[in-house]
């Protein structure tokens, strides 16, 4: 069930340029069901920023009621967040959304593709897949060397290809270049990252089982306000739309128009 409560900051550190790893502790962790779910964080003390900020869950430690989020400082809200220190509290609403399905036969191969700040939610996903004896292949794209993070952690879980737009770390190019070159054999694809990347993946693998995690500007995060709508691809669909916050943020490719 969704909860709302204060979570204590266990630690916060800058792990790459403008990329922060925030470790939080609180009861809400027990409610997390799947990787790819997100939380909605209150940033700032008063009415400015007014709205919560959606941040994906990157790693869960159920036993200690601890979860990790990784975020990039973009504007006011995330900048405020980055200044909070160990021992302080953050008001968190969550877990929200449905996340990635992890049910899969052991021995199968999963291809995980992340772009930039879309990488974090794939980490818990990869861990859970590995626990189910699924082979994972990671392809992670970043803008440039200073923005690269979490690569060692991914490498520990499976083969990991890194690309940067400018070639300053790993191969030069986009994640799709790796796919072209390697021509992986896989049973399921999971991806999170910028919309152009997700579109390219959807087009490239029309026959595959592909799960994409989407972003949209939100207000409530719980499905009440209709802010975060995407139209369905299927014109005959009964509702004709999906809410990213509560029906998503993960959708099977083809369900909504990107």
């Amino acid at each position: 069930m969704k909860k709302i409560g204060e979570m204590k900051i266990v630690s916060q550190k800058e792990i790459a340029k403008n990329i922060f790893q925030l470790i939080l502790q609180g009861k809400l962790v027990s409610e997390i069901e799947r990787p790819g779910q997100f939380v909605h964080m209150k940033v700032g003390e008063g009415i400015d920023p007014l709205l919560r900020r959606p941040i994906s869950i990157c790693e869960i430690d159920r036993e200690n009621q601890i979860m990790t989020c990784i975020y990039r400082t973009e504007g006011k809200g995330t900048t405020w967040l980055s200044k909070k220190q160990q021992g302080e509290y953050i008001n968190v609403l969550g877990p929200l959304g449905n996340g990635f399905p992890v049910q899969m036969k052991s021995g199968k191969v999963a291809l995980l593709i992340g772009g930039g700040i879309g990488v974090p939610p794939l980490y818990e996903l990869s861990k859970q897949l590995r626990n189910r004896d699924i082979q994972v292949i990671h392809v992670l794209g970043f803008q440039t060397k200073s923005a690269v993070f979490l690569t060692k952690e991914f490498q520990r879980l499976g083969v990991t290809y890194i690309v940067t737009d400018d070639g300053s770390y790993g191969e030069k190019g986009f994640v799709t270049d790796v796919l072209k070159k390697q021509n992986f054999d896989f049973d399921r694809l999971y991806a999170c990252g910028p919309t152009p990347m997700l579109k390219a993946l959807e087009q490239k693998f029309p026959e595959k089982e592909v799960y994409l995690s989407l972003e949209e500007r939100m207000s409530c995060g719980i499905g009440a306000c209709f802010a975060c709508i995407r139209p369905t691809k299927d014109r005959e669909d009964k509702k004709g739309y999906r809410k990213i916050c509560s029906d998503g943020p993960v959708f099977q490719a083809g369900e909504v128009i990107l």
């Binding site: 009415i47 709205l51 949209e216 509702k239």
Partner: protein, 312 residues
């Protein structure tokens, strides 16, 4: 809870707090957080004859102390609201105020006629003031004669009392209030959002796909309070006040201004527990201020003895 009960045309409210239309869907999401029966009433999302998809995204943008929305009246349409949403809501002991919208007078009449038959709909709220739809909406809300006409027509067919929701985007809101009172409105709800715009720093273009959106949240509260103050001294029908309420103090300020009850909008989107919280806090606040009954202080800001409408 007796210092809290308010009776208004069609509505026996346990307390004067209700969620505002469009910020609470049809209640399903909030029922996961608390028992909806504790609410004074529920204003459901605007319903139109046909289902509407609404505007393209982005549909929301943040502003200093407020937010812009341009949802565009997305809703599942009259049929589904009648068959699924209202029956679902009937499990709760709470009166429903059905917010209705349309592009033509006929639209309003059709929805009003049918939705007012639903057993748990105790009142209608005519949304003649939505700034986010291309046709109708805004003209209904800014031209007194048009507002009067649509009110009259809806009154003719509605089986429950009719409240009209006023737009703040006008030079003199008292003229609009008087017009809908003349049209037979049983009450007024106010205010809807103010039209606003935000531009993206990098592109220079509007953040919302719809370009402009409706401004809501704490930022607009002093404007809403001023308008409730003006209108409550102008008409003889009760007002449900709204605009930026996020605490018991805010709620009481609207009552002082001349509202008989209040609605909470945007704050629900930030704290799903805000309505129960305000209900609890308000009771304590009245205690602290030695107010015996909430209605005793309705219009306190302008009342010397008793003049104008005596809030119930």
């Amino acid at each position: 809870m007796n210092r809290f009960s308010v009776s208004l045309p069609g509505l026996q409210l346990k307390n004067p707090i209700m969620p505002a239309s469009g910020c609470f869907g049809f209640g399903r999401e909030f029922a996961e957080f608390y028992d909806l029966s504790i609410l004074g009433a529920i204003m459901i999302k605007a319903t139109t004859v046909e289902p509407r998809y609404g505007n393209p995204t982005p549909r929301v943008a943040e502003t200093p102390g407020g937010m812009l929305n341009a949802i565009g009246l997305q809703n599942p349409g009259l049929k589904k609201v009648m068959e699924e949403e209202l029956p679902w809501l009937s499990q709760f002991d709470v009166p429903i105020i059905a917010n209705i919208a349309g592009s033509t007078v006929e639209d309003y009449v059709s929805v009003a006629k049918e939705i007012s038959e639903a057993p748990n709909v105790h009142a209608l709220e005519l949304n003649i003031s939505c700034p986010n739809v291309k046709h109708g909406g805004i003209a209904f809300g800014t031209v007194p004669d048009v507002a009067k006409e649509v009110t009259k027509r809806v009154k003719n067919v509605s089986r429950v009392p009719v409240y009209v929701k006023l737009s703040p985007n006008v030079t003199d809101i008292r003229l609009m209030a008087k017009a809908v009172e003349d049209g037979g409105a049983d009450g007024i709800t106010m205010i809807n959002t103010l039209t606003g715009l935000r531009l993206d720093m990098k592109t220079g273009k509007p953040i919302l796909a719809n370009i402009t959106g409706g401004l809501s949240g704490p930022a607009i509260k002093p404007i809403a309070i001023r308008m409730v103050y003006e209108v409550s001294q102008t008409v003889n029908i009760p007002i449900i006040g709204m605009g930026g309420i996020s605490s018991a103090e805010d709620a009481l300020e609207f009552i002082y201004a001349g509202a008989s009850a209040v609605a909470v909008g945007t704050a629900n989107l930030i704290d799903p527990f805000i309505c129960p919280k305000i209900i609890t806090d308000l009771e304590q606040l009245l205690e602290k201020l030695n107010i015996d009954h909430i209605s005793d202080v309705c219009g306190r800001s302008w009342k010397h003895g008793i003049s104008g409408y005596h809030c119930p």
